[in-house]
């Protein structure tokens, strides 16, 4: 059999095409067998992601030129350690979402049993995989738009007025972001004549207009990643979507544009951009943490609280950026750890919230007293995910917090350590308010009609994210195959 490494590049192509094909097939099969086809596709996607991760871990970074056109003309797909890890994140969350949607589609369950959910969901999955793997800037634009369309459709799938409003505002926000990104791409191409990501820093070095283009591209991605102040669309969209969709959106989609932003930032550093850019993004990140936590604490509904918590946690990812220059390896690992553990924890929280809202009829906090006893699995998943939100050991975000505090102490930027540690405490406020209301003794004792559904998919997700520290060695081996240091 061919030396396993040789087959690796084709895996990248398959990782995008297989979910796409499965989506198309499940659409074609119609209502009856859509779910079955989709679940098959999901399983294949998970296997492919694992294969890619294995080959990157053993053989280092993998690249594939589609149709063997060589860049700058052809589109190159590349997978280094970081993108492989994000691919794995997408696979894990994807599997959990698919299982939960399958469980939920029993009659009388949440709205997600609309069969159109399956094809849209698989399109979203393949677009996300595409964005993780693409090394071509314009191809990234196409993936961003694909993600936008399927996400908007999924958000609107509930059909209620609130869902439609949220979908519209999400659509226009993503259009604004994508257009800004496109203009940026145009300017960069105007000046440098290339679209390849890794050739970007040398291309951009010379001309000012190319750097402006890069700035606009970064701005577009900042909007797609919902970094404060460009976070306005996320809370309504994520909290009014069905739980499975919000889990995927908050867990994975937000991270995909962030990964591209990090690649661009590395290119910009290569091009000699001063610390100003990073400090601005970091400052916005710090504000995002405070703002997100405050709004989460102020929100009256469980799902809205979890959505705002995403805004806050995205802030962490940007606060670390100024440290990327001197200590690329450690901060790269921190980014991977935080993204992975937050992605899984946030997906688990949304799935659990869906189950709790199902049991209590509404997800308003004052109506949740005693639900914790009816849905122990959901309450436990919420608790375990809370461990990650707070960045407490042994969760992955604790490992990230530890690395960030260490490197910020070493590099003298004290304030980053303070923000990261303080953020944990702020997260404690809203997480434990939610838990306390769940565990409270119900004052009125009329028995609710317990709907036959438990968040079995959420528990493993939350458990893995809460103990990701133990997977430290595997993650660091994968990250060894990544170079985030600017040339």
């Amino acid at each position: 059999m061919a030396e396993p490494g040789a087959f690796a590049p084709q895996l990248l192509g398959l990782a995008i095409v297989v979910p796409l094909a499965a989506g198309a097939v499940s659409f074609a099969l119609g209502r009856a067998r859509a779910m079955a086809a989709a679940l098959l596709g999901a399983a294949a996607a998970v296997a492919l992601a694992a294969a890619v991760a294995w080959s990157v871990a053993t053989g280092g970074a993998v690249a594939l030129d589609i149709g063997s056109w060589v860049p700058p003309l052809g589109i190159r797909l590349a997978a280094d350690g970081l993108s492989a890890l994000f691919l794995v994140l997408a696979a894990i969350v994807g599997a959990a979402v698919s299982v939960d949607a399958a469980l939920a589609s029993r009659p009388g369950a949440d709205v997600a049993d609309r069969w159109l959910f399956w094809p849209l969901w698989l399109f979203l999955w393949s677009a996300v995989n595409g964005l993780f793997l693409t090394a071509d800037v314009f191809n990234a634009y196409v993936c961003l738009e694909l993600i936008g369309f399927s996400a908007v459709a999924l958000v609107a799938s509930k059909g209620s007025k609130a869902a439609l409003d949220a979908a519209l505002s999400y659509l226009f926000a993503s259009v604004l972001g994508a257009m800004t990104y496109l203009v940026g791409v145009g300017l960069v191409y105007l000046a440098s004549g290339t679209l390849a990501l890794d050739a970007l820093d040398s291309a951009v070095h010379g001309s000012a207009s190319a750097r402006i283009g890069l700035g606009l591209m970064l701005a577009g991605l900042v909007l797609k990643t919902a970094l404060f102040p460009a976070h306005f669309w996320l809370p309504t969209a994520h909290s009014s979507a069905p739980p499975q969709v919000s889990a995927a959106l908050s867990g994975v989609v937000v991270k995909s544009s962030y990964l591209l932003a990090v690649r661009l930032l590395v290119a910009a550093t290569g091009a000699g951009s001063g610390p100003g850019l990073r400090l601005t993004l970091a400052a916005l990140g710090a504000v995002a943490i405070v703002w997100g936590s405050a709004m989460a604490l102020a929100s009256q509904r469980l799902k809205l609280m979890i959505a705002y918590s995403t805004v806050a946690q995205v802030g962490y990812l940007f606060v670390m950026l100024p440290l990327l220059e001197e200590r690329a390896a450690t901060v790269g690992l921190a980014i991977a750890l935080h993204a992975l553990s937050h992605g899984m924890a946030k997906a688990a929280m949304f799935l659990a919230a869906g189950d709790i809202a199902d049991a209590a009829g509404t997800d308003r906090f004052d109506a949740l007293a005693g639900v914790g006893r009816e849905r122990p699995v959901a309450a436990l998943s919420l608790g375990l995910a809370g461990v990650t939100m707070l960045g407490l050991p042994p969760s992955g975000s604790f490992a990230a917090k530890w690395l960030v505090v260490q490197s910020s102490l070493a590099s003298g930027q004290w304030w980053i350590a303070a923000v990261v540690v303080g953020g944990g405490l702020l997260a404690a406020l809203y997480v434990f308010r939610a838990l306390a209301s769940l565990l409270a003794k119900p004052d009125r004792s009329e028995a609710r009609t317990p709907k036959p559904r438990t968040a079995w998919a959420a528990l493993p997700l939350a458990a893995v994210s809460a103990t990701l520290l133990l997977a430290g060695p595997a993650i660091s081996r994968l990250m060894a195959a990544t170079s985030l240091a600017g040339r």
Partner: protein, 493 residues
């Protein structure tokens, strides 16, 4: 083989936790069996580890979790001492909890988090370096939150919220402290007598890290400004306040301080940077404050809580004095106080369960109704008050004596004064049950309490008396404490 024992001692409680959570609510018997079996297995494993550690070759394992971040476990003597106490008392408490939680709801959740708390306490005991200790320390905070807010009443929720604010605040200070420590000494791991002694780093940095670490652990060790959560956490069910708030949780705070002062800094360096003198002063204030407050509390568990605050600072004061006998007394007191205090909390729980008695003023005549439990509680209360020759006095004597040899006679006065206050708050517990009750107590047919509650109380009381009787003998906690003190002060040189 030794690493196997280490693994068993940590995995058994984890399995018990997972099992208790997974079992259906009605499987009470099997849950008890699971917990009791796990407790016995852990106790056996810890026993084996203690023997090995006493033989001079402690079992240990180290791994590089993240590049440049090494964590590890090591069952040295000091860790074995703390772990022995926790695991032995867990066996007793598992039986007691079974009886006590009989007619309460969500018992699966209770036993699950209870076992998880034990797991993290054992982790704290066996941690080989400050980072591992910090990780288990935080898991301990999390595992005990649902136990404090178990019955979901508004007081429990507010007590839980207050507990969290303190625990997370302390955790933050600890995180920064450990990060600072790793910045100063990257390859840090515990060495008897301290490994920082050689480092030539700036004193202000050493002082800052010391302050952060001690503040972080001080929250759980209930040092005065940081003690607010303990009396309020008494709203938790009796087994929780017994094992956790008198033994595992608070002692892990004190154990952390032992590790910082004697296994990271070393007594001389800690004294040179002015760390231990300040710590001794804070501990002295806490000793007197806790005892004084205990006298005024009429609620039984609140009184025991403030007594714990005071007695914990006996230990902190003892370990911050540069003298081997004082340190031996302090480490011994960790075990002696734990056993005595658990008897009193069991008694408080049994009193509430049987006679709905919560306050000291309602104690009159309970001896006639529950003679065995009351007898056990009286022996423990006398020990707590430091009446010779019981367990409490033995360690108080060593700490007091060591204080003078270390040149700070004021500390001896603190111990003597606290002893007097201890008699003041313990005396009503000893005499009131024997008084004739003025209002006739509602006649309950049953003579003694529920056997599930009485047997653990009796066993624990006998344990406390045994500790006193075999104080000087080998292989008993005080002897192990003596060996640890010998290592720290003389082997370390």
């Amino acid at each position: 083989m030794a690493v196997l024992a280490l693994a068993v001692s940590l995995i058994a409680p984890l399995l018990a936790a997972a099992g208790s959570l997974a079992f259906r609510e009605s499987w009470r018997r099997s849950r008890l069996a699971l917990n009791a079996a796990a407790a016995v297995a852990t106790a056996a494993a810890v026993g084996a580890l203690t023997v090995r550690a006493a033989g001079g070759t402690p079992a240990g394992v180290r791994a590089e979790i993240l590049p440049g971040v090494v964590m590890g476990l090591r069952a040295d003597l000091a860790g074995a001492l703390f772990a022995t106490m926790t695991s032995v008392l867990w066996v007793v408490t598992a039986v007691y909890a079974h009886g006590y939680m009989r007619n309460r709801q969500s018992q699966g959740r209770f036993f699950g988090f209870f076992a998880l708390a034990i797991f993290s306490a054992l982790g704290v005991a066996f941690a080989a370096d400050m980072l591992t200790l910090f990780v288990f320390f935080e898991v301990l905070s999390l595992a005990t939150y649902p136990l404090v807010t178990h019955d979901g009443s508004p007081e429990a929720r507010s007590a839980g919220a207050r507990y969290l604010v303190y625990a997370l605040g302390g955790g933050t200070a600890l995180l920064l402290g450990v990060a600072g420590l790793r910045a100063i000494a990257p390859g840090e791991s515990f060495v008897a007598g301290g490994h920082l002694a050689a480092a030539g780093t700036a004193v202000p940095a050493l002082r800052a890290v010391f302050a952060l670490l001690v503040a972080g652990f001080g929250v759980k060790a209930a040092l005065v400004p940081l003690h607010g959560w303990l009396p309020r956490a008494m709203v938790a069910p009796a087994p929780v306040s017994a094992l956790l708030h008198a033994v595992a949780v608070v002692k892990s705070g004190v154990f952390g301080i032992v590790r910082v002062v004697h296994f990271v800094y070393g007594p001389d360096l800690a004294a040179r940077i002015g760390g231990t003198p300040v710590l001794a002063a804070v501990a002295a204030v806490t000793v007197l404050f806790g005892a004084a407050m205990a006298i005024t509390r009429d609620d039984l568990k609140a009184r025991l809580a403030y007594s714990t605050i005071s007695q914990l600072s006996y230990i902190v004061l003892g370990l911050s004095l540069p003298n081997a006998v004082a340190l031996a007394g302090a480490l011994g007191h960790i075990v002696h106080h734990g056993v005595m205090k658990i008897v009193l909390f069991f008694w408080a729980g049994a009193l509430y369960e049987e006679l709905k008695v919560k306050r000291v003023s309602q104690l009159d005549g309970t001896a006639r109704r529950m003679p065995l439990t009351t007898l056990a509680a009286v022996s423990a209360a006398l020990g707590l008050a430091g009446i010779p020759p019981l367990a409490g006095f033995v360690t108080k004597w060593l700490m007091g004596k060591g204080a003078t040899t270390a040149g700070s006679a004021w500390a001896t006065l603190v111990y003597a004064g606290a002893g007097a206050l201890a008699v003041a708050y313990a005396w009503p517990l000893v005499t009131r049950p024997f008084r004739r009750p003025d209002a006739e107590r509602p006649r309950r047919d049953r003579f003694e309490g529920d056997p599930w509650l009485v047997v653990p109380v009796a066993v624990a009381a006998v344990l406390a008396l045994a500790l006193a009787a075999t104080a000087g003998a080998d292989a008993m906690p005080l002897d192990i404490a003596g060996r640890v003190a010998f290592d720290v002060f003389w082997r370390g040189r």
